[in-house]
Amino acid sequence: MKIRPTVIALLSFIGMIDALYLSMKRNAGPIPCHITHGCTDVLTSKYSAVLGVPLSWFGLAFYLTIFSMAVLKIFDDETNPVEFPFKVVFYLSGLGLIISAMLVGIQAFILKAFCEYCLLSASLVLIIFLTAPNPGRHKLPA
């Protein structure tokens, strides 16, 4: 059992559902919050899209890429492992973490409202980044 890629695949799978859910809800009226307050504020704010493209679509592309890399690693040939999937996961999740931190900052300091679905996504990105082995520091495990 390859623990790291399996964990990353599971987390990115949850992220895919989260991003798909937000993409569907975006054009369906007010978005309810259950834990936090202000989902509609955040998801209908001017920060919720870049050049007209909803951030949830970027999130979906991100999680799909991470998930695909993790699955490739799970099915990797242990006698001749390929290293690029973990490299992609590490650098992409690092970039995702920076963007997530900026988005959490916008929620906290500009919008003063929090969206639980966005916070879930930020948490997933953080755990994926921490789970992915740093290719620069040590030899990549299988």
């Binding site: 569907m24 054009n27 955040v42 007209g52 919008l111």
Partner: protein, 220 residues
């Protein structure tokens, strides 16, 4: 054959995962939600606010101030409740509508506000306001929504060609931007945002919650 099978397995897993994730998201999105509230960030409105369009009697006890965006799905979802409130309280409540087009996420919202203002030039602002919300799905995602605006204008009994001409009038955009400026001063971050007596009110997208908020303000 063995190699092909090895390469195919991850692809099958990825495709299956996409299908399952899509199914799960559709299932969750279709669950009946507790009605979401309008913008929940605290805000107050300068009572000397100017402009806006009024619907209802001038001496109404309660003026419901709305900052809205014609392309915003939430505004479209709230529209029937606002209309219902005006029908239920014809002498006690009036609506004051201000444009707040979020152009970065709703590229057709400014054009829609202009269409409403242009209809106002022909004396039919509120008819166009209703039509824009009621037929939102027909124009909101179009690269060029103008033909739909012209068709809606004809539908409400005004001249569509003149409406399109009037939309080019820079004075209309100035009026809309004045509303946006006031909304920015009130630190509005999302739409729709409602105010009563200068205070932001948080209303769920349900007629019961609207009635509760209006009743509470009628008896203040």
């Amino acid at each position: 054959m063995k190699n092909m099978s090895k390469a195919t397995k991850p692809v099958i897993v990825i495709v299956l995962a996409i299908a399952v994730a899509a199914g799960a998201a559709v299932f969750l999105a279709r669950q009946p939600d507790e009605a979401a509230k309008t913008s929940e960030t605290a805000g107050t409105l300068d009572t000397k606010i100017v402009g806006g369009h009024f619907r209802g009697p001038e001496n109404a006890e309660v003026t419901l101030v709305e900052f809205g965006d014609y392309q915003c799905p939430s505004c479209g979802a709230y529209h029937p409740f606002v209309k219902e409130i005006l029908n239920r309280y014809p002498t006690k409540v009036r609506l004051e509508f201000h444009h707040f087009p979020l152009i970065t996420i709703h590229p057709n919202s400014m054009a829609a506000s202009k269409a409403a203002e242009a209809a106002g030039q022909q004396g039919h602002y509120w008819e166009m306001h209703d039509a824009l919300f009621e037929y939102q799905a027909q124009w909101s995602e179009r690269p060029d929504p103008k033909p739909v605006f012209a068709a809606l204008a004809n539908r409400i009994g005004i001249n569509g060609a003149i409406l399109l001409q009037d939309m080019e009038n820079p004075a209309l955009q100035q009026r809309i931007l004045k509303d946006v400026e006031q909304g920015d001063k009130a630190t509005i971050q999302a739409v729709p945002t409602f105010f009563i007596k200068g205070q932001q009110v948080h209303i769920k997208a349900s007629i019961d919650d609207f009635v509760q908020v209006i009743e509470a303000n009628l008896h203040k």
